[in-house]
């Protein structure tokens, strides 16, 4: 059986008359940092939503480790080791950084529903273990000083880090990042690159959407370029940079891709 491979075949997602994703196929291999790029509105986020179960594609198949995950719910997909972040950061704004990261431990926790009513020694141990993991994430993402701070009050750059930390607390096999550099300054972007490499070194496969071409070229091993929901090119960053169709798509939309 194929190991830790994500294979999309002819995935199509429509919104009314609009085909947001059009017969898209690609394959992410274990250990890669894989990039999806394309102009605004190309359908990148929609592809991610189809992989993570937020939308169900009308056609096609999404195979993860040989299993069809199209049509599963988001939490079932998380349970299989795929975790994502959002383009528009989605954190639990009123809760502290540590509690936000703790949410990633939900599926790893062995507690049952009755532990919400009656405590047991096993529950206490389980709580401690999971909070210890949160501590590790806080260290890894250099967030320790913010542990008790409500996340909604933090700057954008730190919120992004918290969101990735939360996803990593799940101990995913495949981490999906939707425009992780959006809204970051140069220094923060550089730190993000480092973090992504460190995550890959832990054995996690990374699939990311990026708008910033420079960043994509630096960080990814392999790329798929989409426009109007269709794949227009794929290859290594070097190959993509030389591809005339890509240059055309990007130049054609250069003025409106400041988001």
């Amino acid at each position: 059986m194929a190991h830790n491979e994500l294979i999309l075949t002819d995935v199509t997602k429509r919104f009314g008359g609009l085909t947001a994703v059009d017969a898209l196929s690609f394959k992410v291999e274990s250990g890669q940092i894989y990039g999806i790029i394309g102009p605004n509105g190309a359908g990148k986020t929609t592809v991610f939503n189809c992989i993570t179960g937020i939308y169900k594609s009308e056609e096609g198949s999404v195979l993860w480790r040989g299993e069809e995950i199209r049509g599963m719910t988001p939490y079932q997909i998380v349970d299989r080791g795929i975790v994502r972040t959002f383009q528009t950061i989605r954190l639990f704004g009123q809760m502290s950084v540590a509690e936000n990261i703790m949410s990633g431990r939900h599926i790893k926790s062995a507690q049952k529903w009755w532990h919400g009513i009656i405590p047991t020694p096993g529950k206490k141990r389980d709580e401690l273990e999971n909070w210890k993991n949160v501590e590790e994430q806080l260290d890894f993402f250099k967030l320790s000083e913010f542990a008790a701070t409500p996340v909604g009050s933090l700057p954008y750059g730190i919120q992004r880090r918290v969101e990735i930390a939360r996803a990593m607390a799940v101990e995913p096999t495949l981490l999906i990042l939707d425009e992780p550099a959006a809204g970051l300054n140069d220094k923060e972007t550089l730190e993000l690159l480092e973090t992504i490499f460190k995550i890959r070194d832990k054995g996690v496969t990374v699939l990311l959407i990026e708008h910033d071409m420079d960043m994509v070229m630096e960080v990814t091993d392999y790329l798929t370029v989409i426009n109007f929901g269709k794949k227009i090119a794929e290859g290594t960053p070097e190959e993509i940079q030389k591809n005339p169709a890509v240059i055309e798509a990007y130049l054609g939309s250069e003025d409106d891709d400041d988001e």
Binding site: T52, H106, G116, V170
Partner: protein
């Protein structure tokens, strides 16, 4: 605030523990009412405050517990204490059954559906369905509390019964706050999509919240039945649910906030008799003012605690 709370809780418990000995009959009855309605309001807080579900039917579960006790005691001759497990389990099961098909609904739709449930419930009681609810008059002349052969007829025993139930409720809520299900409820209240995307089966925890909230309200129902040695439909009208709903929203989803809300709503009117007719008026204004000036309630929720070892030097903490 934290220090204050550390100090305030023991004081509150001690005062509540000796309180009935300093009160006459009438005031004891008021204090019991405060305890019972506090438990119901806290159970509503689990559903509305902690999980963010707009449930406007909490009086249904409260009434179901009260009627379970009354029917088992009057029709089947059970002792009051023996009715407690069923007075918790039956409302809890109903909570789960009713919640199942509706928890996916958006706030406003859920609100209307739960109002509907509450109205149907009261109609069922009034029409004496199954011939056991006693119709519009309800059921009266319940046995008094007895335990291990001791008759606990005095109002003071009822007070301590109610107090124990409140302590139990606070204990459960404390356990909930530091548990996986309790946090899951917070997460889904804050952002359901984010919660799903991090692996939480939000549906399960919404139903869990309903079941737990209903069970606790049912237990409060038993105490209510004992206190009045009677139950009747109008005590569980939908307008009661509106009160519990408002208390949680105005008080804020915190224990002090909820208790404060119950105090203002049910105790102040007794202290100032003239205030009784004014209470809806004043509470109405309090609701308006609170929602405009403090949309998260007078005493807002503090979320689950994080362990001390995570709080490092130079923390920007709250």
């Amino acid at each position: 605030m934290k220090e204050l709370q550390k100090f305030a809780y023991p004081v509150f418990f001690v005062v509540m523990a000796v309180l009935p000995h300093m009160l006459d009959d009438r005031w004891q009855a008021v204090a019991i009412t405060f305890l019972i309605f506090s438990v119901v309001a806290l159970s509503q807080d689990i559903i509305l405050g902690k999980s963010g579900m707009f449930n406007m039917g909490q009086a249904l579960f409260f009434g179901m517990g009260a009627y379970t006790t009354a029917i088992l005691s009057n029709e089947y001759g059970w002792s009051i204490i023996a009715t407690i497990p069923l007075a918790i389990i039956i409302p809890a099961l109903f909570g789960i059954l009713l919640a199942g098909p509706i928890v996916h609904l958006r706030g406003d739709y859920l609100l209307v559906v739960t109002i509907g449930f509450n109205i149907v419930f009261v109609q069922v009681l009034q029409n004496n369905l199954g011939g056991v609810t006693g119709g519009p008059n309800g059921i009266f002349g319940l046995d008094s509390l007895s335990f291990l052969g001791y008759d606990l007829m005095s109002q003071i025993s009822v007070y301590y019964f109610a107090f124990i139930v409140l302590l139990l409720t606070l204990w459960v809520m404390h356990n909930l706050a530091g548990s996986k299900p309790g946090r899951a409820m917070h997460y889904l209240r804050e952002d359901q999509l984010a919660a799903e995307s991090i692996g939480i089966n939000t549906r399960v925890y919404k139903i869990f919240a309903f079941g737990l909230g209903a069970g606790i309200a049912g237990l409060a129902g038993t105490v209510f039945a004992v206190q009045y040695s009677a139950v009747s439909p109008e005590a569980f009208e939908f307008i009661q649910s509106v009160l519990f709903f408002s208390i949680v929203l105005v008080g804020g989803s915190s224990v002090p906030g909820v208790l404060l809300g119950v105090f203002v709503m049910f105790v102040l009117p007794e202290i100032f008799r003239e205030f009784a007719t004014w209470r809806y008026f004043i509470f109405g204004f309090a609701m308006i003012a609170a929602m405009i000036m403090r949309p998260r309630g007078i005493w807002p929720a503090t979320f689950g605690k994080i362990p001390k070892f995570l709080i490092k030097e130079n923390n920007h903490g709250a």
